[in-house]
Subunit: 420 residues, 2 copies
């Protein structure tokens, strides 16, 4: 008779509006599984594994567990911590000591491509040392840049928020008769999926955003200014969406200020809209409005997409299903079955084919002039923002919840980083 | 037997999320009034009167007329056009020629203190020339700075949007263990009501925003930095709300860039958060996040307050009521009857007591240290963000509507500004 194992789930990388729906989905599948005993959540991703900061999800208030699916941003906290490529590194020994001490037989890591790198390495290390564990990656990222999945949970909600903001801003700007240029700066480090989504907002059949600039193509200021001016002359009002990640032809980011680098070597971006505002003001018109929603794009759960929320939930649910069937070393992705009606299923991709890779907007989905996306791209994005989520309210604000940080007693000595 | 007169309504000043609810309320009262014949809307405020660009609101599709109450930003357009203080100015003659040509006996102007100035002058001129017309001002402004009303329609929805954003941003920032300073820049030219509202957002009984800086008190950078640092040392995470309108002790706006002036002599503000970000980075920590929702604050109808929407509607409704009773030269304001339960009624204030005045946050509602508001102030603001508005959706986005610009045939020659 096989002994029941415990399950561990953790979250990593940047927040999304629906990331917790995946944890709830995984939890709902796991509580009914006879092979799974305890269901633990590690706080702050792999760092929480190293630190042994686990909560017992079955002991959480059940209403809170349900409520976190409407709550933005990782309920289990997050981290940006890269595992060494060298299996001799002490982190591996430590992580598997922790796994072993807590009889972890199932590990789910919910995150972007950096998280899939972590999951891949842990899976390979487990095989190497012969540790019996099933490891599945659960995708999430507003950037939509993971390979091995048609699109990423989190993307649709960010796109819905951005397009709602664009629609409302257009009503704001059209109130006045004055000619105006509006610039919206959209998140997306290297891939332009989120900026591309700005093409969705429409009113009475007409698209609101006139020009879209993605990081997939080199950005040329003169071309930009002449394209903006052309629309300005013709329509008087110009709505431009620009990715925070646009770069010039030598690959340098277009920034008003300086760039910095985070722990993964990513540049901390921002400010491109301010730079472009200055340029438009100097060359076309003083009336330039800048919209830079910043982190609101990834946490606006009050404006989440129902399609996105449901997908995040079911991907979590099915990830546990697949691990119970014996799969390991895969990411559970979304395969689009049809567009009208919109249908999808789960597909598995080996983690090594996902980790550290980035899926850009394909060149053929960008118009030849490089300043908009094609109808095919729009058809791809359209279903992902569909459906409304009505978050319960309390005193006029969304009633978000948080898990109780009742950590289970550690079984090992403190991790070296925390010691005296 | 008295001849039936026509009614004219127009909107002016900056948009709000619920400004059109007042037009719908006024329309709903007017259609049932036996004394009112045609119900006209002038496009782009008083400029639309000068230009004679009127639509017949009874001829609009009734579903659209209902739909505009959920649509942000003035459905009848807006303007920033100041009437001369000199009644000899040709604008007056022109406006009353237009009124007379269209048999306008009721005029409603929906706007802020500049709009009340316009309504006041027209009312005085009408008395001077003996023209029989009832003129009532219908307040709106996210700034909440009008006197003669407990608060202004538009304010509650802006406050709800800001606090929803603050709540969601807090979840975003708390995902990471890193110490962070978050700065949110809130609209409000001279009055700090909207920045003050940032004190509402709370989670599990604890306020999210630690420090609030209003334009009512001179801003001192050193004091600011030491107050931020104190919270930073104590809590590690600091959430600061700052009004775009803060000024130093000599009265100069705190700005990163240059200031400009619009037609009413108001400074076009922006950028204070960028300046403060630099200062915090230079003195406390590099990890500073800036949230600057800009115009989204005044147009986010998808996040409107039901209380605010209802008030905007009923103020419009009652304004027509009062004009029918013979009142003229007043603004229809809100009188708070009680806080728990929240109740209000309509009260009239003479336009000359409203026009060009600004109501600031009283000193006694700001804590002695100048960096937060009092419980009394919070109690005042709390009811105004209550209740959710579920905007009908279409293809994943709010289903906003616009009136058809079917202008009625002009009866006079073109206004000089449009000639030749």
């Amino acid at each position: 008779m096989s002994q029941r194992k415990n399950m561990l789930i953790a979250q990593s990388g940047g927040p999304t509006a629906v990331i917790n729906a995946s944890v709830v989905g995984a939890f709902h599948r796991a509580v009914t599984a006879s092979d799974i005993h305890h269901i633990y959540g590690a706080y702050n991703g792999i760092v929480g594994v190293l630190k042994e900061t686990f909560v017992d999800l079955k002991k959480q208030d059940r209403r809170t567990m349900d409520g976190i699916q409407y709550t933005p941003s990782s309920a289990l906290g997050s981290c940006r911590y890269k595992l060494s490529s060298d299996f001799e590194h002490e982190d591996y020994r430590r992580i598997f000591d922790v796994f072993d001490a807590h009889k972890i037989g199932y590990f789910f890591y919910n995150g972007g491509n950096d998280s899939m790198d972590t999951a891949m390495k842990l899976n390979a290390y487990a095989r190497k040392i012969g540790y019996d564990i099933k490891i599945i990656g659960i995708p999430k990222t507003i950037d939509n840049d993971l390979v091995g999945t048609d699109h990423c949970p989190g993307y649709g909600s960010a796109a819905k928020y951005i397009n709602t903001s664009i629609l409302e801003s257009a009503f704001d700007c059209n109130t006045y008769t004055a000619r105006t240029v509006v610039l919206i700066e959209v998140m997306g480090r290297h891939a332009g999926w989120l900026a591309a989504s700005a093409s969705l907002a429409a009113f009475e059949g007409e698209r609101i955003v006139d020009l879209v600039y993605l990081p997939e193509l080199p950005f040329d200021l003169d071309t930009f200014l002449s394209q903006v001016e052309e629309v300005y002359r013709e329509k008087g009002k110009v709505f431009v969406a620009v990715s925070e990640g646009i770069r010039d032809k030598s690959g340098e980011f277009i920034l008003a200020g300086q760039s910095q680098h985070d722990e993964f070597g990513h540049s901390q971006l921002g400010g491109v809209s301010l730079y472009l505002q200055e340029m438009v003001q100097a060359n076309i018109t003083k009336r330039v409005k800048v919209i830079n929603p910043g982190i609101l794009q990834r946490c606006a759960a009050h404006c989440a997409s129902k399609t996105d929320l449901d997908e995040a939930y079911w991907i979590g649910y099915r990830a546990v299903d697949l691990a119970l069937q014996g799969y390991t070393g895969f990411m559970a992705g979304i395969k689009r079955e049809s567009n009208r009606p919109y249908k999808w299923s789960v597909e598995l991709t080996a983690l090594e084919n996902v980790a550290n890779k980035e899926k850009a907007v394909p060149r053929e989905w960008i118009v030849p002039e490089g300043n908009y996306v094609t109808e095919e791209c729009i058809e791809y994005m359209k279903p992902l923002i569909m459906g409304e989520v009505y978050v319960p309210a309390w005193e006029g604000l969304p009633r978000y919840v948080q898990l109780k940080k009742d950590f289970i007693p550690p079984k090992l000595e403190k991790w070296h980083d925390e010691k005296g």
